[in-house]
Symmetry: C2
Subunit: 457 residues, 2 copies
């Protein structure tokens, strides 16, 4: 009962779709966070839920850790095999299985990426709105309860996964939820597996809610003299009832990165990036109301983007924020962190964080999905100066503590992985023991993505 | 270790807030479903979470069942003490603890009803939209994952509970979630307890999401020559992207009941009841678009209600559907059932159900929240003719099987309780064992509302 015998048995099951090649292992040991390379012992490339089930059953018999892998864009070490074992790369399970246009839902395999899905949907008049910065897989997005710029209007993965197929830790295959829009039929297992980061089972199929492509879309950027003005404009806009599709805060340091990376020439001050969805009339009315609120809070220098190409350029710039941040300090590594607070505490949270970063001497753009109270900070560090990593970790630590003090959470959308585990006790208190009890009940051996979310003895 | 010793100990804890009086027990043995009177052994009236915790700890030590009670309006026997024990009446925990207008949330105790909450919120410009027919408690609504006429726009309790305080089966008090609008910090315990019907713990506090009272509201009713026309108009309206606030189907038998009960004179044919929320301009535009879609599908005889009193009369009539149904057959009892299907299968589900009821010879109005694919049927039976109950159960059984065959669920919003337990295996397959594993992990003795949702040996 060892990882070695598991690998030998898996090779029989999968043939050359079980790899122990150095390059393959190295690729699956990389991450976009700050973890050193952590290659697994082997990488499996299953092609069906049944194959995943057989794989997990073998690993259960051999006590071998099982770590699911989408495209490896997670930021908190979720997909790293810290305890060794087998990484399960879902890239061969990347098909759209059924589009139900009348019901506005789609059934997909977990290895499909969000951009691939939207490409497939082009002719249907429907789209899947959730957009983390990276072109992540839909399985990975469900596993981390991802969201992005449109959550303020369309919700997060929690709100847009209708049903799942999951392989449990003992190799059984279950289905949760249905294509009905709502149900009161028992415990909400769909929502339990969404955000469980592979620690309770492996998602092998997802039924996702789709939304109609809006008749009209309009986007704008707006400059503010200070953080408070921008954040207060956000609060007032949300309270006004304008159904914002996107309302993104980007601080002056982020803008400098955008200018460097995308070749733009925006003034280096806080900005809001806005988008409105609806009928022609509704979008015009929303834009007028929001524009007036922005102006009241000191916003100015509006630049509108109504044509699709302009809008795409704007949001591409926003989605490339990670790379834009890197442009501020070539050769740097990035410690990205992510918190979410009640919106009434947002100005305080962002302003204190900005001041804390300035005091640290590090470069760290702040930006976020502020309509939800969610913001990120990308702390740039020189890999050759280890003390900078220490300073960045201290900053992130204070940011997490600040979020908790203000009634928020240490992660709005990136997830726990290994990076936020240290805060789970403080955030959840005795509820963490309930998470541990569920983990023990569903994965008594602790083979499913061990060492993530909650430690179980 | 008996129920008797539990009651003796609880009397010491609660004094005269622990009652074994016949009238009190009888009141808590009633239900709006078809269950015979099932009085508990005693009824407790706690006043704080700490008191609930002490109560549950005593019951755990004595192996005494604990059954939470809101106002007893559930339809599937959720609040009945089928195994005896102590019913925990939450009516003394009915305060609004905090209104956070800027964050659009409110913290309440579980015994507060939805109408009481909205009365308290009158001056804030905010409201809580979820509206099951009855004026249920918010704790009960969370426990059953309730929804109602506005779910098509504002979601269900799943979408509007941000955080909970829960007393576990061992008497520990936990908090789940936070006032942040989203989080990826571990397993979604809030969504696990929402819909768990008191089987995993007792909800002692809720943080609820509020919504801004829309600037403009307009409502209308529209008559259709047949069910298909009405349902197809619903599908087309949803697909058009009109953000309906309410879109309710009411069949010809229901209309007859409304006319009898409310003294109206609507034509006895299928109707849709509609409501639009938004700015003045948006509501006018939505109403125009929806009106055109209705007309295309044979809808006519529009009656608009723009003044608040007219609208209130309209929705009061809709919310009184249970009593209107009873008016169709004075002295009857009502077997109410509730299913939800993908909207593409809705016309088929409703039409088949209508025909099945006609063939049975029973009277049974059909109506529902069709924007979600959710509909109900109220089967009227003569309590003195037991064979009618059998026929009604057969009809409900076929309705549940039909919903599953069409890819739906046996309960969209009423919950499982005892009434839908028989369908859990068929609906969930092996996932039911995951529910059982969670139940066992969190309530190993099986004292929390035993015999509901999932049987555990």
């Amino acid at each position: 009962m060892t990882i070695e015998t598991a690998i030998a048995r898996l090779r029989k099951l999968l043939g050359d779709r079980l790899s122990t090649a150095e390059a393959v292992r190295a690729h699956h040991g990389q991450n976009e966070g700050i973890y050193p390379p952590t290659p697994p012992d082997a990488v499996a490339f299953p092609e069906s839920a049944e194959e995943v089930a057989r794989l997990v059953r073998i690993c259960a018999e051999e006590g071998c850790p099982v770590v699911p892998w989408g495209v490896g864009t997670s930021l908190e070490g979720h997909a790293l095999a810290f305890s060794g074992g087998v990484t399960v790369d879902m890239s061969r399970m990347n098909r759209v299985l059924a589009v139900h246009a009348e019901d506005q839902d789609v059934v997909v395999q977990p290895g499909l990426t969000r951009e691939e899905l939207n490409t497939e949907l082009r002719a249907t008049g429907l789209f899947f709105p959730i957009d983390p910065g990276a072109n992540a897989t839909l399985g990975g997005m469900a596993a981390t309860r991802a969201s992005g710029t449109t959550a303020v209007r369309y919700g997060t993965m929690k709100d847009n996964v209708l049903a799942l197929q999951v392989v449990l830790a003992d190799g059984r295959i279950i289905r949760t939820g249905s294509r009905a829009r709502k149900s009161s039929a028992g415990y909400d297992l769909t929502r339990l597996f969404v955000g469980s980061e592979g620690t309770l089972g492996i998602i092998t199929e997802l039924t996702l809610r789709l939304h109609g492509v809006p008749e009209a879309v309009s986007a704008a950027i707006c400059a503010f003299p200070d953080i408070e003005g921008a954040v207060n404009a956000v609060i007032a806009t949300i309270q006004s009832g304008v159904p914002m599709a996107r309302i993104e805060f980007v601080d002056e340091v982020s803008i400098r990165g955008f200018n460097l990376h995308a070749g733009t020439d925006m003034p280096e001050c806080p900005h809001l990036f806005l988008e409105f969805h609806g009928s022609e009339g509704a979008v015009a009315e929303q834009a007028e109301t929001a524009g007036a609120i922005m102006a009241e809070h000191g916003g100015g220098g509006f630049r509108w983007a109504t044509r699709a190409e302009e809008r795409n350029a704007l949001w591409k710039m926003r989605h490339n924020a990670y790379y834009a941040a890197k442009a501020l300090r070539p050769g740097c590594r990035v410690l990205t962190t992510d918190v979410c607070v009640p919106i009434s505490r947002l100005a305080e949270a962002v302003t204190e964080t900005r001041a804390d970063i300035e005091a640290s001497g590090l470069v760290g753009p702040i930006l976020g999905h502020v309509g939800d109270g969610n913001f990120h900070c990308a702390l740039l560090i020189d890999p050759d100066r280890p003390e900078e990593l220490g300073r960045a970790k201290d900053l992130a630590h204070r940011m997490n503590r600040r979020a908790l003090r203000l009634g928020g959470t240490v992660t709005g959308e990136h997830g726990v992985g290994r990076g936020k585990m240290a805060y789970m006790e403080e955030e959840h208190g005795p509820a963490l023991s309930v998470m541990a009890a569920i983990k023990k009940a569903l994965d008594p051996q602790g083979i499913m993505n061990p060492g993530k979310i909650v430690a179980v003895n």
